[in-house]
Amino acid sequence: MSTHAPVHVHAAPQGFIRKYIFSLDHKVIGLQYYFLALTSVFIGMFLSLLMRVHLIWPQAVLPLVGDIKPENYLAFVTMHGTIMVFFVLTTAPQGGFGNYILPIQIGAPDMAFPVLNMLSFWTTFVGFVALIAAFFVSGGAPLHGWTGYAPLSALQSAGPGQGLGADLWITSIAIFCIASLMGALNFITTTLDLRAKGMKLMRMPLTVWAWFITAILGLLAFGVLLSAGILLLLDRNLGTSFYVPLVVVNGQVMGHKGGSPLLWQHLFWFFGHPEVYIAILPGMGVTSQVLSTFARKPIFGYKAMVYALMGIGLLGFMVWGHHMFMSGMSPYSAFAFSLMTMAIGVPSAIKTFNWLGTLYKARIRFHTPMLYAIGFVSLFVSGGLSGPFLAQPVLDIPLHDTAFVPAHFHLIMGVAAIFGIFAATYYWFPKMFGRMMNESLGRIHFWITLVGTYAIFMPMHYLGLAGQPRRYSQFTEVAYLHNLIPLNKFITYAAIITISAQLIFLFNLFWSMWKGAKASDNPWEATTLEWTTATPPPHDNFGGHTPVVNHGPYEYSVPGAPRDYIMQNDPATASTH
């Protein structure tokens, strides 16, 4: 709790540029992040569409794209993964919703460092431009995958796209790291210092907890990736040998000596595994918030939920080696990484149990955000339970680097996290734009997306069991893959339908901004502070006063209360937490 006056209060901006482009307002910056992620997700999704089409119709010549060669396919793989992980799954939940909602939910007028906030968005934007530029340079985008394993990523001659395209790729990631570090500092400081009177830590909404812990993970993880990326740039351009031993590419001896390809993997996954929690924790927070709101019940086990978030965050830093069981790393360390990875299943299971406990004996209202939150739980269970397979080194022998792995992580950190973003969009849209999104379109979008994503990713598990390796641009060369083509066709059809259905969302989003029904200040009858202020919130969030918090975040259906929810700033009564 801050006892001093916030130092960052700034006057409402005049003029278009200060208001909408170089804005200091966390709400505008949040929307900037959101629309950057929206642009990115449609690019990333389009790339996945091209990949799926190429896999089953390898000879097809597509409009705009033309003939897809193996190196084009791998460039799509790389750019799809990089765009989705960094500019969608990190950008939308944290930069977008975290920025917009966190200060309001803790009763603050803005983020702690508004200029830093603006800077972190525009730095992210520069990173995005650098990444997209890789498509347009000689040789095109790199083909080393979003994980960029050295020496493939470190050698200019290792393939098309490994020249300037790969330099732009790693530069973009380094810029993104810098932006994320600035953002993380801001989130942590804001949460610790700018909470309104009465907003004790254990009264913070679980969304705030999730964004806060995500920021801590970001602070610890992105610095490592930044350093790793700089070393890679040096290896690529200045002839150092951090990651490259003596290698011979196509008969040419390269000038490197003594480097370790595994060093890159250690550094990358030391970032990479916390990164998957950076992508999913905000979704967990939103799901908790939305489930409780629409179940009209307090969240089951609030404290357990907070400790589970902390547990996941802490253990998330001790499991990176489970990506490397087949890498040549010591098999003894595999044993330890495996044990830690299994342990991370425990807090994940606690969260699932508590979500189910929240629904038990509830009175559920099925608005679109709630459908997506329930979808999140279903996908989290499905994607989570393939984790204990991959966490066992002995099962990685058949499963590692097969389609089983993309099946697992797409369900849990891809689609589940996207469902968290959808839940958040449908839930907070009224607050952000003052209008409601269309419920019928929302439902149609939900049903197609839920069934469609299961139809895409569940069969990928079967492909993995059958031994289909990841990142193959064609299934023509390995005989046993021929039998799997029908199932691959099914996945492509499901992908085409599911991706098309996202246009419904896009239409609903923009149509509702101008034509949606007017929203009241608290359309969901929710309890947290963002619903106590005007819609959309004024520049300083609460119109000149600071709220005082008297209640926990999820006081629904309190016996004896006049209505079925008590807002966090309602006058104190003895009966609630």
């Binding site: 196509n250 307090p298 149990f353 066992q392 058949p398 046993y480």
Partner: protein
Amino acid sequence: MGLALLLVIWLITFASTYFFIAKTWWFPVGYSAAAAAIDHQFTVTFILMGIVFVLAQGALGLFAWRYRDRGDAHPVQYSHGNITLEVIWTALTAVLFIGLNLAGSPIWAAERFEPAHPGSVPVEVTGMQFAWYFRYPGADGKYGATNPKLIDPSSGNEAAIGLDTSDPAAKDDVVTGTMYLPVNREVDLTLRAVDVIHSFFVPNMRFKQDAVPGLAIRMHFTPIAVGDYEIACAELCGLGHYKMHGMVKVVSQDDYDKWLAAREAAK
């Protein structure tokens, strides 16, 4: 809406589980000594995770339907949770996950902690963009020296891995593009890569190991049935990754000896 959720979630659960149980798409038959144990560990994991999967999805669908808002004023349970329940399910999941891990670890230890037994067949595997080469040390049991400067991929075999023929130990080394193995003999593998990381994946042998430039990784497995088994590269290695395949031919000891003798004679 509650009923629709129940039906769709249950249907997804049923369909997903059905194709696992029916084994419509499944592991290729395992023909190595370790395959049975690995498959068994998979089955145990699948049964346990399958039970949790069905129960969790079942409860989610059921609760969505059972506790929907019906417009009446049925009481909502005002509860902030239950410590006893939290402790119980935390303990149960911990036992389940850690137990599963411990159950699988002896197989891992046998595969990876122990070196190959004496008397096993030494073969060196070399991966390069986009081919596999296999080297047999010959009668002296020693691999001859290789020299990166001598690597000439376009010439194939000995030249492709840069075998230094001036080294006496290299004289009887045999290098091929197809891996021949005698059945029921343990293979003592040394995995290398000359350019980028590749991964030696033989689904029928339940074998996978990355081949990393700069490292010589020792591994072993034992084929238990005569036959031809495909190798697929399992680590993204460049534009030809999808076509970096090869073949393991497991033959009888006699056939193996004859093949090796013929290769030696042809040198």
